[in-house]
Symmetry: C2
Subunit: 437 residues, 2 copies
């Protein structure tokens, strides 16, 4: 084989993903060299902990505690940041970019919180930032949005982006189990963190939604413009009622662009069984994209895990290497710096049907009172389902499916209903319904 | 807005797709310029017929009969070939490549039949060929295979790649209609050609399968190594029997790589209802890709049509433009020239379970005779389903689901069964079963 050009790679962070990247380069390095016509060569792996067994054999000489010096080496052309978080990761990314070295990262939190700074430094230094692994694990969704669908105005994006939440919701539905029990099982199985808030409260999904929205609309998305609610404490009953009505509940990131701006939200959402996202089960992720030219497209795969994430990181390393060989970065970063400023709609403006469950006093007239308040706020009622309750229960569950209404109007109506005397005994549960149209 | 670099585009062929490309450049040209930091400028549209209304307003001065001169113009940087076929299209592509101009094409037939020649000329002239639109319409599956999944050894690919066939099969199943009636309706609705052979006999799917296999395995795939059977004349009864057993019948391209080579085939295949491809309905396409690192990924969208195809063509134009700005092509063409030669398994080697329907003499002992022949060829039987027939029928339909067996072995066994005296009255129907595992 002829001598191929070598591109030196530094891996920062020797945790799960870092080890997966090293393993992938070892396993498929030859194949990659064939495909690319150049060779990705691992120059070093930096981590504070060099003793833990990562399940991959690496020459000790490649391991270092000193990430800064590794980045500076002349034979390091590309840097993969796989440390996570917004501390050392940010410093090291900025260091590499200032040296004009392209950076590959899986760090959605950093992108969501410090995207503007990092993109700006990349641009100022004529280099690039690649982040396929930050959303959807091994699914090449960033590339699809950035390149494959470049000809399209993105009308909307619907994503199941957090495997932990989807695993919990899938098991709750399939096995009729309560939230706490499934969360504990997921923690035991390693599908959920001991401190699960980032996942189950929707923040991880929000970070990913911000990344996708920035790609779709060419802008930095301020996290405070993202409306977030998670799945913590979801009642098994709501999953069962939704199923009876022909719906599954999924934690969806929903991004919609329109004449009056872009709206980004993360919330548990009812989708019909025939909806393309309804059948995405367990730890899988999927993104449904509506483009004005292409129509509907869908991307599906494992959303996390050592190997799937490594697949995305190595694809980005390959892209960076090809761009270096071609004489520089290929895209300028206008992809995330729209020339026309993007307006974010205030949360609450999304118009949708809703599932609302009240715990309602079991006596004549209460239903009429609730319906009257909804009506006064312009919210129609598509259906009402009253559940049977024990004979002596004072309050019974009643489920309303509303007509299309702005979330803000519904929130106002529900507040008013809560204030009614002796009608309901606790805050109603409400979820958006995403119709397939 | 600052003056952006302009990339001149020539569109060859002003048919459905050509008009879609012109329309997309008009509609989203400004957005593209923002995203790319350069401007795609239409320099001309060549077609022999300049009078037919294409539903898109184009300056007459841009229209020409003279494709050759258009390609030669100094201000034409990229050429989109949307003529189709293997005559003028081939000549014009070669002309452009020899001038060092990148070519974007949607022409799977040309790629499948003349891929080696065209790739070689592109390589010799230091330019590139982009063909996202050749497979899966607007789904960025070529980019996913070529770039997004670059780190993966591709284990297998399963594709629904022909919208016409999928539309026919979907309607046959959902409305219990016979093949001929649905084909006529599809022709009337413009979903099938007056001469439907390219679609319904599987050739179009085979061309696309060859393109996907070439991307996955870095080689040119000779069409005579692709086993092809289509859906012409499929019996409504088989679709109904399959449904009873929990399967749908889809025309699948199946590409599998293994230690002993690569196998490419196109055939009607039974997939379980829960299989990810089972729910792909109507004119939609989908590709399921198994990579050794990423695991399972799926790509779904409209497989054909003016707009979806235009989305892919314009994405390729954008890529070519970015590569030109970066100083040249970005990938060498090793992506389709594997350094290790690829062996193609002879058709018939794929091991699978099968659905086989016999029209079997309704008398004791015939079932045993058929089972004995299968057994003698090492083919197990997973289940047998005998259908009720009119009381006076001499032959009744009997369906076998075989155990896993090589297709070759099954073909031999069936030939032997056909030769049995008075056991079956016509050639058995057989389809592969693709289990979800």
């Amino acid at each position: 084989m002829t001598q191929l050009k070598e591109i030196g790679v530094a891996v920062l962070g020797f945790g799960t993903v870092g080890a997966g990247v090293v393993e992938t380069l070892q396993k498929n390095g030859e194949l990659l060299a064939e495909r690319l016509g150049l060779r990705l060569v691992l120059r070093g792996v930096a981590d504070l902990d060099l003793d833990t067994d990562r399940g991959v054999a690496v020459d000790r000489a490649l391991l270092t505690n000193d990430a800064k010096s590794l980045i500076e080496r002349d034979d390091v052309d590309v840097v993969a940041e796989l440390i996570g978080g917004t501390g050392a990761a940010r410093d090291l990314i900025l260091q590499a970019l200032k040296l004009g070295k392209p950076v590959v990262t899986a760090n959605k939190k950093l992108l969501a919180e410090h995207g503007r700074e990092i993109h700006t430094v990349a641009e100022e230094n004529g280099t690039e930032l690649l982040y396929e692994a930050s959303v959807g694990g091994g699914i090449p969704i960033v590339k699809a949005l950035r390149e494959g669908l470049a000809a399209n105005r993105i009308e909307s994006l619907y994503g199941i982006l957090n495997g932990t939440c989807n695993y919990i919701l899938t098991r709750m539905e399939e096995e009729h189990l309560p939230f706490d029990e499934v969360l504990s099982a997921a923690q035991a199985a390693g599908y959920a963190e001991a401190e699960p808030s980032l996942d189950i409260d929707g923040h991880d999904t929000a970070h990913k939604a911000a990344v996708l929205a920035s790609l779709a609309y060419g802008c930095i998305v301020p996290l405070d413009k993202v409306q977030v609610s998670g799945i913590r404490g979801m009642a098994a009953a709501d999953i069962a009622y939704a199923a009876e009505m022909g719906y599954r509940i999924k934690l969806l990131a929903i991004i919609r662009g329109g004449a009056d701006g872009v709206e980004v939200s993360v919330q548990p959402t009812l989708v019909e069984h025939r909806h393309p996202l309804a059948t995405v089960s367990g730890v899988y992720n999927a993104v449904l994209v509506h483009g004005d030219i292409v129509g509907t497209t869908l991307y599906y795969g494992r959303g996390a895990g050592r190997a799937a994430t490594a697949s995305a990181v190595v694809a980005d390393l390959a892209d960076a290497a090809l761009n270096l060989r071609a004489g520089g970065r290929r895209r300028d970063l206008s992809g995330v710096h729209a020339r026309t400023p993007v307006v974010f709609r205030e949360p609450g403006g999304i118009v949708a049907r809703h599932y609302v469950r009240f715990s309602m006093k079991d006596q004549p007239g209460t239903l009429a009172k609730v319906a009257a308040v909804l009506g006064a706020h312009g919210i129609g009622i598509d259906s009402v389902m009253q559940q049977e309750a024990p004979a002596d229960a004072e309050y019974v569950p009643v489920i309303f499916v509303t007509g299309k209404a702005a979330e803000r109007a519904l929130a106002d109506a529900l507040k008013e209903i809560e204030a009614l005397d002796g009608v309901i005994d606790r805050a109603p549960v409400r979820y958006r319904i995403e119709d397939s149209d």
